[in-house]
């Protein structure tokens, strides 16, 4: 991992160029150009707000329907960042086969730049969340210092998976077909729509949620952006009262969610370690096979 960091520093200009190119290429040719970077999450936010707070009039035990919409969006932003990167990233070695066959550069930086792109997109999404929460709920984020840490940890987690999948995909191309299905499954196994008693999940799902790293990182984001101390109190009371055991967050208001951070950091580094090891092992064949 230290070697990876060193490579990133050495080829930082390439990393920046690739990231910028990706961000530019995505919106190139569209009339609104880079505004889509902001417009897209904004539109999503609007849709979720209208659908869940106005049309379905969803009720949660805490907060208003708009709280529900925002909490859901707050889970959706990191999920989209994660899912998109895994899907596109699992193909990244093959996709850049042309470069790999022609230039001697460390292929390790391909997953890094893909993750950077998603982190930038996510950051914009979270900015929307913060603004919307301020507007609709009248409070700002708390423990904002946790946000960059959470974002980077999530990046490392995603990157680990991308390393693993992108390297194997070179030899077993079927992965490309399988990833979208797996991601849909993972989506439903993550607490994006469910986070409070109102949607208390069955026991099996609760177990799955407990072992799903995304559960932890999503609740951290929600603690930062969504819940007020009173709402946290209410949630905790609900859980202790035998409600949903996965209704994270479970931290005392004002306390730092060290447990969640720790669990997720552990997952992220393990994932990165395994992914990178596999990637390095398979890398010598990339120029021959990609």
């Amino acid at each position: 991992m230290i070697a990876l960091a060193r490579q990133c520093v050495r080829f930082r200009e390439l990393l920046v160029s690739l990231t910028r190119r990706e961000l530019n290429a995505r919106y190139r040719g569209s009339v609104l150009g880079k505004s889509w970077l902001v417009l897209q999450p904004l539109a999503f936010l609007g849709i979720y707000y209208v659908v869940f707070s106005q049309l379905f009039e969803t009720k949660t035990s805490v907060g208003s329907p708009s709280t529900f919409a925002l909490a859901m969006f707050c889970g959706l932003v990191p999920w989209i960042g994660h899912a998109e990167t895994v899907q596109r990233g699992s193909n990244c070695v093959l996709e850049h086969g042309g470069l790999i066959k022609k230039f001697a550069f460390p292929t390790e930086i391909l997953p890094v730049y893909m993750t950077l792109v998603s982190m930038i997109n996510s950051a914009v999404g979270f900015l929307m969340v913060a603004v919307a929460v301020g507007y609709f709920e009248g409070h700002g984020p708390r423990m904002l210092w946790m946000f960059p840490i959470a974002l980077v940890l999530q990046g490392l987690f995603t990157m680990g998976i991308v390393y693993l999948l992108s390297a194997i995909t070179v030899y077993v191309r079927d992965i490309t077909q399988m990833v979208p299905m797996l991601m849909v499954f993972w989506f439903f196994m993550s607490p994006i729509f469910m986070f409070a008693k109102s949607t208390a999940p069955p026991p099996l799902l609760q177990t799955i949620l407990k072992y799903n790293p995304m559960t932890y990182i999503i609740s951290i984001y929600r603690e930062i952006f969504i819940w007020t101390p009173e709402q946290l109190h209410a949630l905790r009371a609900e859980i202790e009262g035998g409600g949903s055991s996965i209704a994270l967050p479970v931290t005392e208001p004002g306390n730092v969610p060290w447990f969640e951070l720790g669990v997720f950091a552990g997952c992220a580094f393990t994932c990165l370690f395994i992914g990178l090891a596999v990637f390095r092992k398979l890398k010598p064949g990339f120029a021959d096979e990609a």
Partner: protein, 403 residues
Amino acid sequence: MKPDDRIAVRAEGLGKRYKIYSDSSGRLVEFFSFGQAKRHTEKWAVQDVSFELPRGSALGVVGANGAGKSSLLKLVTGVAVPTTGRVEINGRLSSLLELGAGFHPEFSGRDNVFMNAALMGVSKAEVRDRFDDIAAFADLGDAMDQPVRIYSSGMSMRLGFAVAMVADPDILVLDEVLAVGDHAFQQKCIERLNEIQQSGTTILFVSHAISQVRRICDRCLWIHGGRVVMAGDSTSVTDEYSNYFHARAVGRAARLAATGHAVSATAAHLTNVKLCPAGKTEEVDSFRSGDHVDFHLGFRNPTGEGKFHLGLIVNRSDEVQVFTSRSLDAGMSYEGEGGYAVVRVPLRVSGGEFYVSGFLLDESCDHILDQRQAWARFRVDHDGDDLGVFLAETEWITSQGAS
């Protein structure tokens, strides 16, 4: 830095083996059988190639398609990992392995220059410093700020070449990239290559154009089937290489003549060619400047109907056309079921390797009925030190002063 700083590239026993799986499940079967099952065939693309490139030298690599030239370059540039042997590189290496590699079609030439340079590990600041120089060399004008997607292949080549230059490499590796582009730009590239070589850059150059190899490289490797067939100074290696090609072409022609040319079983066709000293019949392939030579051009016309003409073109091995001749222009024509046309030629050429191509033409000389490119090859030796194609036999009339 390595102890021997005068060597820019050293390859020792380089080999590259590819595993070829007939279907993609074979790899999985092998993986899960832990070496018990074998589902692939092996192919050595490069085998046992060793060479040393001193700083400032230029090595050409020639060989037929699929001989392993590009695989070798991939090993040298570090893109692919060798199966055996090792490569030692002293200095910054930049490569142009394919036209437009790493160019993103949606971005401007300018953006792509920076991107490509970054892929070669060249810093932005360096590119910025040299950008004007690059732009001037590529000479793309306004197109530099237009997306690469609208570039012609010649323009891509200009840009790619300019980028490879920017890296200010100690070692420059070029694969077949001078093949496109207009003549003037090719000349410019060759001059530039000669220039940077003078200033100490080491060049590794793969090309099918033998004349380019000769102009750029002092030494040359001929590769066939992944192995080095011949290594040495570029003139002698490329000579041997083109001889080999010619021999193959002649072999094919002879085979066709023997088996009775598939297309021309009933149509008129050329059969064989023979070069003899004037008036003699034994075949010779080496002459002296000024010799008279009889070109015997064999033809056959199974139906025996119609009249036709014969023609020949003689080229020097660097593709310079030396002369042409047609029976039509001499007022001759041929008929009957076959035979030989004999053309007597005084070889007023200075030394070199030459080849003759033959043509069978219809009565009006408008249609080619059959042709043989590089039908026969011959050598002309010349004692004098004068250069050029034409044996001029000049006279110097005055010795001192003016007229």
